[in-house]
């Protein structure tokens, strides 16, 4: 079981990811606003953050940088509806584990999360 944070400006998308991963036994915290998500990361343990790149105020890349500054060991999956080489390169450089293009298949999402979290367990 892991603490997972989901941040997307589309509420339904956060609800969906929450439902999928809750069924897998994880504790999922969903957000549509960046500031609330950042506050949460700074005050709660988070194992994995699933971040959309296009947000309301800042970009998902910027949010990732700030979250990594607060919790360097935190894992991250970046989600985007419009992938670009620039955002992919920046995300990887900031330590993102995956860069996925929406709409991601439910199974694929479950597999990627499981794989990342397994790696975490291994590291421990």
């Amino acid at each position: 079981m892991a603490e997972i944070l989901v941040l997307d400006d589309v509420l339904d998308a956060t609800v969906l990811v929450g439902k999928i991963l809750t069924r897998k036994g994880h504790v999922v915290h969903t957000f549509t606003e960046e500031d609330a998500a950042l506050d949460f990361v700074r005050t709660h343990p988070v194992d994995l953050a699933i971040l959309d790149i296009k947000l309301q105020k800042m970009s998902g890349i910027e949010v990732l940088r700030l979250m990594k500054q607060a919790v360097p060991d935190m894992h991250a999956i970046m989600l985007t509806g419009y992938p670009t080489v620039e955002t992919a390169r920046e995300a990887v450089n900031l330590g993102a584990d995956e860069y996925c293009v929406k709409p991601i298949d439910k199974q694929e999402l479950e597999d990627k999360v499981a794989k990342i979290l397994e790696g975490r367990s291994g590291r421990i």
Binding site: G81, Y82, V101, K102, D105, K106
Partner: protein, 550 residues
């Protein structure tokens, strides 16, 4: 007086009159008279002396029956006698031995002269000379004889004056001929140096002088500069400035200056140089044009001489003719210079126009070409000589679908006109921008039209490419935006449907939810294609509408 004597006087008078009427040269008149009178009047000798205006003395003009020694004596007679004759009265001296004037008395006695009658030679009540009748035997001149001799002397005066006037007239005619010939020469050329050289060579020849110089006031400082010289050494010419010489100053004020003896005249500065050059006399005259002095001419003679009024007038006339010729030559030189400058500017302008890449054509009011640059000639494959004067319509033929000709528009409206002409060439469509600009005269009417023809094909093609690129960028951006905006809700919809699919497995709605999942996946495949678009092709949709081929 007896009749025989009267008859003899008449005969003498007739002979003298006849003689002087046949001779025009005053010197010849005098010689004839002095040689004829002794026989006619029964005397032994006769002299004629003429008044020298400059010295006020009577100078020997002709003599007969006397020795050179007698004639060479310094004084003619006593001052009283001369003064009496000069005032118009005859003086008779019957016995020379009684003369109170010793030099004359002694000279006359040596010559064997006994009696002398001195008569005034008058013309128009002015004494111009004296005539003396001398005898070697004592003689008392009777009243009628004296009266007759006075009348004879008056006749001589008339003859001498006529001769002088005739000579002056002859001289003036000669001067007129020479003036005409000099004027012709100086006006036959517009070469300034040739004009000046002609004057300095011909003027001294006419005046029996040896040298001549012309100095001109050169603008803008009006400095007096030697412009031409003849018959003078380089050393003399280089002696220094003459602008401070009084004769120069006077000539520059417009007056003629004649100096008989330059060695003793304070109107000349370079006495030593003149002496070394052998110059004795000088004549300086102004060169005038429309009352303005533009320089001076100086005529220099190697013998001490006076310049007569006729000679001075002649020199002034030559200077005036020279002045006009100099002005003409200067004007011609200026015009030539200006013309050369204009030609140079024209060449420069033509070079500029030839270097301009667009075609350039200038058309006059009548619609005929008056100028075309190299680009125009090369593009149209024509020669300049062929183009100039050609009717505009023949030069630039327009197709029916072409826009209105801008040159014709300018000729009608007087305002600038622009049009773009499309031409089908071997390498595809070419575009030409034709700009016609009016060139108006002082009255505001269009005098010429300047047409500039620019090949804007490259520009047009670039614009088309840019439009295409911008359209592509728009399409790609639109595709990206659509993909992005659709993918998040699509993710939510597809994921939720997939979860339902699992929940409804085995139930009656399993097939329906499967249809939803399958179609949402088809949409997701299309949005995936849209996100990776870098170019596009279109395909027909309905009617005129075309859509992007994904």
């Amino acid at each position: 007086m007896d009749h025989g004597r009267e008859y003899r006087y008449l005969q003498v008078f007739h002979q003298v009159t006849r003689m002087i009427s046949m001779v025009r040269d005053p010197r010849q008149v005098m010689t004839n008279i002095v040689h004829s009178l002794p026989e006619l009047l029964a005397i032994d000798a006769c002299t004629i002396r003429l008044l020298d205006q400059a010295s006020g003395t009577f100078v020997l003009g002709a003599a007969a029956g006397l020795s050179p020694e007698y004639l060479a004596r310094p004084d003619v007679d006593s001052r009283e006698t001369i003064a009496m004759v000069a005032s118009g009265h005859p003086v008779a001296l019957s016995a020379v031995a009684d003369s109170p004037h010793r030099p004359f008395r002694e000279a006359a006695l040596r010559e064997g002269i006994e009696s002398v009658l001195t008569l005034p030679i008058a013309f128009q009540e002015r004494v111009i000379g004296i005539m003396r009748l001398l005898t070697r035997t004592p003689r008392v001149f009777a009243g009628d004889e004296i009266l007759f001799s006075v009348a004879l002397a008056e006749q001589v005066g008339i003859a001498i004056s006529n001769g002088r006037m005739f000579r002056q007239l002859e001289q003036q005619v000669d001067f007129l001929h020479e003036l005409q010939s000099i004027s012709q020469l100086v006006n036959s050329t517009l070469d300034l140096d040739m004009v000046l050289q002609t004057i300095v060579e011909l003027l001294p020849r006419s005046l029996r002088a040896q040298g001549c110089t012309i100095r001109l006031l050169t603008p803008p400082a009006k400095e007096l500069v030697l412009a031409a010289a003849a018959g003078l050494s380089r050393e003399y010419l280089d002696r220094g400035e003459v602008v401070d010489e009084k004769n120069t100053i006077q000539a520059l004020r417009g007056q003629a200056v004649a100096i008989q003896d330059v060695a003793r005249d304070d109107r000349v500065l370079y006495h030593e140089h003149m002496e070394k050059e052998g110059i004795r006399s000088l004549l300086a005259v102004p060169i005038k044009v429309m009352d303005e002095v533009i320089g001076i001419i100086r005529v220099l003679a190697r013998e001490s001489r006076t310049f007569s009024e006729a000679e001075i007038d002649f020199s002034l006339a030559v200077a005036e003719a020279g002045g006009s010729a100099i002005t003409n030559a200067r004007t011609y030189r200026k015009i030539t210079l200006l013309f050369n400058q204009i030609e140079e500017h024209e060449r420069f302008l033509a070079n500029i126009l030839d270097c301009i890449r667009p075609q350039l054509l200038v058309v006059d009011r009548q619609g005929r070409a008056v100028m075309a640059n190299r680009a125009f000639l090369e593009t149209n494959g024509r020669q300049e000589a062929e183009v100039l004067g050609m009717e505009y319509g023949r030069l630039c033929q327009a197709a029916a679908e072409d826009p209105p000709c801008p040159v014709r528009q300018v000729l009608v409206t007087g305002r600038m006109a622009v049009s773009v002409q499309q031409v089908q060439a071997e390498d595809g469509t070419r575009w030409y921008e034709r700009t016609a600009t009016p060139m108006t005269g002082d009255s505001g009417e269009v005098e010429f039209v300047i047409e500039i023809i620019r090949d804007i094909t490259a520009q047009r093609r670039l614009e088309a490419e840019q439009a295409e690129r911008s359209k592509l960028a728009g399409v790609i951006e639109m595709a990206g935006a659509v993909a992005h905006e659709i993918n998040s809700p699509l993710f939510a919809a597809l994921g939720t449907a997939q979860m339902l699919e699992g929940d409804l497995a085995g139930g009656e709605l399993e097939e329906d939810i499967g249809t939803v999942v399958r179609n949402l996946k088809t949409i997701s495949e299309l949005t995936a294609k849209m996100t990776i678009m870098t170019g596009y092709s279109s395909r027909d949709y309905v009617g005129e509408t075309r859509i992007v081929n994904l």
